[in-house]
Amino acid sequence: MTKHHVETTVNGNEVEFLCATEQTLLDVLRDELYLTGSKEGCSSGDCGACSVMLDGRLVCACLVLGVEAQGRKVETIEGMASGDTLHPLQQTFLEHAALQCGICTPGILVAAKALLERNADPSETEVRFWLAGNLCRCTGYDKIVRAVLDTAAQMRGATSKSGKAAKKAVTEGA
């Protein structure tokens, strides 16, 4: 079978792969690039376990053809931590025990990061609606929602603290 040669960017790295038309972006990430953090749950866009960013937009990788990634920018759970330093969402999910079996967790983390990048101070309702496409069969969602809200508060605190520190430095400098 003729395969497509695709060049794309995944988590900032230029990658290339061969794929058949019917291989989804999720198939390619997992089976060709061995990035198995994105999970396959339903393969029909209902569960969100395969959530990734495609050109800055949150999508289900199971509903994107691999060949559609040509020339685009893909971000997955594997790119979320900086080296050994976890993203604040990852750290807070651990602290809140906002995961049990863990299958939904990569998708929820990617989706929650996308939310906080758009809205630094979401309400509980906004978090619940934003994550409505990410199914979790273990936690009952409450710990997940609390972890996202707590992370948002921490990140706002860190931003305002660094803002204050910068302001203080300027004042002292003057």
């Binding site: 089976d31 029909s44 866009g45 937009r57 994107v64 053809l65 989706a111 496409g133």
Partner: protein
């Protein structure tokens, strides 16, 4: 289809997919960069259009379709983006719903249309799903279609013979069937600039809060004169007939009134009378008929509030 073992999936997708008649076939993929090329490719035997992919990929995986060629329209000029001028609004048919919802000026002009597209699936689905796909997939329960019908949206339909304009309500002909000829596709949607004192709204009933398919959907657009009398109205209904409906009698119930209690009651009766629904797991015939009237009335109330508050 539920998740299989990864090795099974790899095997399945590295071999040729199997046609229902038992023939094996290869599925090609093309990204035309002009409307003419796209129409030419879509004219080929076994060609299937790809826009956001939220319906096509599910059907592929379920074995419901086995195209020989997937024609990805997203590189065709003017299929993406939102434009406005004195003639009205134009939304590219392959613009992701999330992008439309984020367009503040469009959301201010057509809040009901934006309500409808923000009810499709999840955040993830809205990142890919398109108006053109939601319409041409031809589900009776498609959320954006009643809202676009109410808004008076017109489709730019392109094919090998050129372009024609088709009102949205003339596209869907039966569940899963549309009126496009082979090789044709929807390039964009044209919506008018709403006049002063105009408003639209869309309401959907589902048994839960998110992530479900409409039991009933109702879209209403209306305009008032300086005295608050309704001069223009359009009513669209979804999930209550084999196709989304334009309810002419619903508009008649509103035009010439001040959208008072009596007019809203007449609208509800007209909406219920227009229904020809089925019984299914989401709702019974009787329930859908009743709820269609209720939602049409409530949507008209919201549209009226928007019309009176808009300068």
């Amino acid at each position: 289809m539920l998740a299989g073992k990864p090795e099974c999936i790899a095997t399945q997708y590295t071999s040729s997919n199997t046609h229902r008649e038992g023939k094996t076939l290869e599925m090609d993929y093309q990204t035309p960069t002009s409307a003419e090329d796209a129409a030419g490719l879509l004219s080929k035997d076994g060609a299937h259009v790809l826009a956001g992919g939220t319906d096509l990929l599910v059907k592929l995986r379920a074995g419901m379709v086995a195209p020989k060629l997937v024609v990805d329209l997203k590189d065709v000029p003017r299929l993406r983006g939102i434009e406005n001028d004195s003639q009205g609004w134009r939304v590219g048919a392959a613009t992701p719903c999330a992008e439309i919802g984020e367009h503040a000026a469009f959301a201010a002009a057509w809040p009901g249309v934006v309500e409808s597209l923000e009810l499709i699936g999840s955040t993830q689905i809205q990142g890919r799903a398109t108006l053109g796909g939601n319409l041409c997939n031809a589900s009776p329960a498609a959320d954006t279609v009643p809202a676009l019908i109410a808004a008076g949206a017109v489709c730019e339909v392109v094919g090998v013979k050129g372009q024609r304009e088709v009102p949205v309500e003339q596209i869907v002909t039966a569940p899963g069937q549309n009126s496009l000829a082979r090789g044709e596709f929807v390039l964009g949607f044209r919506l008018p600039n709403p006049p002063a004192r105009a408003g639209d709204a869309y309401l959907r009933f589902i048994p839960r809060t998110e992530m479900d398919i409409a039991v009933v959907g109702a879209g209403v657009a209306l305009a008032l004169d300086a005295k608050g009398v309704c001069t223009h109205a359009r009513v669209g209904l979804g999930a209550v007939a084999p196709t989304p409906l334009l309810v002419g009698d619903g508009a008649k119930a509103l035009i010439g009134t001040k959208v008072d209690g009596g007019a809203l009651k007449a609208l509800a009766a007209a909406a219920s009378a227009a229904c020809n629904p089925i019984d299914d797991k989401r709702g019974t015939v009787a329930y859908r008929i009743k709820v269609a009237g209720v939602l049409a009335r409530r949507a008209a109330g919201i549209a009226y509030e928007r019309a009176t508050s808009r300068k």
